[in-house]
């Protein structure tokens, strides 16, 4: 009962905050009455409405944004040429790239993390490399990738791969390294083979930590894709943002921001659900 009412109150507060933000935004972006000197009508016809009134073009109002979002959601899968596709298609391109890059990273990171976690020697030897490469921004990788791989599609997948590999690698190694010694000793006493130990004892024990690493990684991958696509262009939600930046269309950019956030949330929740499946009570 108490929990319910807390949820209810939190929901209410969320709605209030939302209304307040939108309200302030609306007031702040309300078109002001023309204040500048009267413009030559011929001139006014050639410039935007704000410039004709003697000011800079303003931020769009929440109502403008709402209309733009509706326009995109009503027709998300149109194709009007190779450089103009619906927002649904762009999101699908980005998701495809993220899943590919992230999947490849998982395929490499989890076995490698296992290896590193099981051998303190390897862990120590590889640690400096991991620590140096981990904080590198995706945009720093991009020129190198384009130069060496010579293919922009593979380059953007590579950038996702290289940025999302580290949390999984470190978490897997950490999870494997911190499996309770008693469990390993029990397995050894029962003369369980090394492969069986790995799959039946270590993997289930480390699974929650590995899943946490994957969850961090997919978040990073989704952050990276927007930056990578803005740089490389062509397709994807990052390209959409860049293309609308070209047009200085803030309403379209805000739409894209909201959708990017929504998809990121869904990815995160999906992995959180998977993580729940592998947790165990101690």
């Amino acid at each position: 009962m108490l929990k319910n009412s807390l949820g209810l109150r939190a929901g209410l507060l969320s709605v209030l905050i939302f209304v307040a933000i939108v309200g302030i935004w609306q007031v702040a972006t309300m078109p002001t009455a023309a204040s500048g000197p009267a413009m030559d009508p011929e001139y006014a016809k050639l410039v935007g409405a704000a410039a004709a009134a003697g000011s800079k073009s303003a931020m769009p109002t929440p109502a403008d944004i709402g209309a733009t979002i509706w326009k995109h959601l009503a027709d998300p899968f149109y194709v009007r040429g190779s450089n103009d596709k619906g927002i649904g298609i762009q999101l699908a391109y980005s998701l495809g790239r993220v899943l590919l890059g992230f999947g490849l990273a998982a395929v490499v990171a989890i076995p490698l993390g296992f290896l590193i976690g099981m051998s303190p020697l390897v862990y120590r030897a590889l640690d400096p490399f991991i620590q140096i490469l981990k904080p590198v921004s995706p945009l720093a990788w991009m020129p190198l990738a384009l130069y060496t791989i010579k293919d922009s599609a593979i380059s953007s997948i590579f950038v996702i791969f290289i940025c999302s590999i580290w949390p999984m690698l470190i978490n897997t190694a950490f999870g494997v390294g911190s499996v309770r010694k008693e469990w390993l000793n029990v397995a050894r006493t029962l003369e369980v083979g090394p492969f069986r130990t790995a799959f039946k004892v270590i993997l289930p024990a480390a699974a929650p930590t590995i899943m946490t690493g994957m969850r961090i990684s997919v978040g990073i991958a989704w952050l990276v894709i927007v930056a990578a696509e803005m740089l490389v262009g062509g397709t994807g939600i990052g390209y959409f943002v860049w293309n609308e930046w070209n047009n200085l269309s803030i309403a379209n950019i805000v739409t894209a921001i909201l959708l990017i956030g929504l998809v990121g949330l869904l990815l995160d929740q999906g992995l959180a659900y998977l993580a729940k499946l592998v947790t165990y009570p101690e």
């Binding site: 413009m39 030559d40 011929e42 001139y43 016809k45 050639l46 410039v47 935007g48 704000a50 410039a51 003697g54 000011s55 800079k56 073009s57 009007r80 040429g81 190779s82 450089n83 103009d84 020129p143 384009l146 130069y147 010579k150 293919d151 922009s152 803005m230 740089l231 490389v232 262009g233 062509g234 390209y239 860049w242 293309n243 609308e244 930046w245 070209n246 047009n247 200085l248």
Partner: protein, 455 residues
């Protein structure tokens, strides 16, 4: 420029027309009236016929004798009975079959790329039997890397870029060629509205400027302009390389004081009430090159027919864009999100040259931007003198040799002749920048003649 050699009334000298166009007065009516597709076929047919006649009668006197005796119509009929003229005409119009039909051409969404872009919606590529995909690209460094990676078969570049790539300045040296210029003029210096009373460049000390790329006419022209006013572009102002779409956003955020950039972003700053047009670059050098259509040497030699078809489409589209009366239609064709993604009125103001200047006035300059494909070698030499002047190019350069290897004036001239157009005389180009004449035969002296320079 696009003279019909078979027209007895055509004046072959290179005088200018009173309309300001790059053609003779006598050609004005025809050039500004006839639509391309209709005139074209006739022109090509005449070229083929002439070639066949020349082949049948190698001695001109015999041809004239024969024609006089039987009449032109009978002669043609007689020849076509043994030689399928129709098929010859068709084969010529298509060139050889292109080795590669599906091509990718990269472009940056600016009005300089107009011929490359409009050739897609307006069917200039498909007329040559090509299936071209025009791919919007995020910036000059990316278009360079994608081109070097062979992802694009041809691409839109800034006219100094093929020189820089061939010379290995800013990248590994790869032989790159530029068979056609896209646009001449068409750039501007835009300043933030707060600098309305600082119109003299001498007052610009400490200004922060943006140009699209280090290897761009924009960079060289801005440096030239402020240096003429006595400012050192490396010490007294700062110039940074900013992708064109970000220029307006940066100007709005007061991150820069102005830029010498490509359109539509000069006009866009006016449209959004952020800046004003200080001057058009044509006021610095009327007829300067800006962007270019480029291919790697490898593509041109491996796919000669595709290359020729592509170049034909570009020359064709450039000729179409050159005509004032087509400009509104072009603005409409390239405005959608698939191409430039800009308000149509902005593009129309740029292409027609009737524009709001951002200071409350409406200006008219039909040559604000113009389109002329001929890759004068003198342009390349001037660009290299500026690369040298600002220290981008070290050591000795054989200016004329590099220019002729990269700017394929001969190729373009031959192609124009084949298409029945009259190429200009490649040696006759005068370049005057801000009142100072440039002698392409003496590039080193030119570099040395400047007071402010790095080398």
């Amino acid at each position: 420029m696009f003279k019909d050699p078979f027209d007895p009334k055509a004046l072959l000298g290179r005088g200018g027309c009173s309309c300001g166009g790059n053609h003779a007065q006598a050609d004005h009516a025809r050039l500004t009236a006839a639509a391309v597709p209709a005139g074209e076929e006739d022109r090509w047919n005449r070229v083929v016929d002439a070639a066949v006649l020349r082949a049948v009668f190698p001695v001109d006197a015999q041809r004239r004798q024969f024609l006089k005796t039987v009449g032109a119509a009978t002669a043609m009929a007689a020849i076509s009975s043994v030689l399928p003229l129709g098929a010859a005409r068709e084969a010529f119009a298509q060139g050889g079959a292109p080795e590669k039909k599906d091509l990718k051409v990269g472009f940056i969404p600016i009005t300089c790329a107009t011929p490359i872009i409009m050739a897609h919606p307006m069917g200039f590529y498909s007329k040559q039997g090509l299936n071209v995909e025009v791919v919007k690209t995020a910036g000059w460094a990316v278009i360079r890397d994608k081109s070097l990676a062979r992802e694009y078969d041809a691409s839109h570049m800034l006219s100094p870029m093929p020189l820089a790539i061939s010379l290995g300045v800013g990248s590994n040296p790869v032989p790159w060629t530029m068979p056609a210029i896209e646009n001449i003029n068409g750039q501007a210096i835009t300043l933030a509205n707060k600098h309305k009373d600082k119109r003299n460049p001498k007052d610009w000390k400490g200004f922060r400027f943006a140009v699209p790329f280090d290897y761009s006419m924009h960079n060289y022209l801005l440096r030239y302009y402020v240096a003429e006013a006595g400012l050192d572009p490396d010490k007294d102002i700062s110039i940074r390389s900013v992708p064109p779409p970000e220029m307006v956003a940066n100007l709005r955020a007061d991150n820069i004081d102005g830029y010498l950039g490509p359109d539509p972003f000069n006009q866009r700053a006016v449209f959004d009430g952020i800046g004003f047009i200080h001057l058009l670059t044509k006021e610095l050098w009327d007829g300067h090159p800006c962007c270019a259509f480029t291919v790697s040497k490898e593509f041109a030699t491996q796919n000669p027919n595709s290359y020729r078809a592509l170049l034909k489409a570009i020359i064709d589209a450039t000729a179409y864009a050159h005509k004032q009366e087509n400009r509104k239609e072009i603005a409409k064709a390239i405005a959608p999100a698939n191409y430039l993604n800009q308000p149509e009125t902005v593009l129309e103001q740029i292409l027609t040259g009737t524009y709001a200047d951002g200071l409350g006035g409406v200006k008219k300059d039909p040559n604000r931007i113009d389109f002329d494909p001929f890759p004068w070698n003198q342009f390349a030499i001037w660009i290299m003198t500026q690369m040298k002047r600002w220290g981008q190019l070290k050591g000795d350069v054989d200016y004329a040799k590099v220019a002729s290897e990269v700017y394929l004036a001969t190729d373009t001239a031959n192609m124009m002749k084949e298409m029945g157009l009259t190429p200009p005389d490649p040696s006759k180009k005068t370049i005057v920048v801000m009142g100072k004449p440039f002698d392409p035969a003496k590039p080193a002296e030119y570099v040395n003649s400047f007071a402010i320079k790095r080398s």
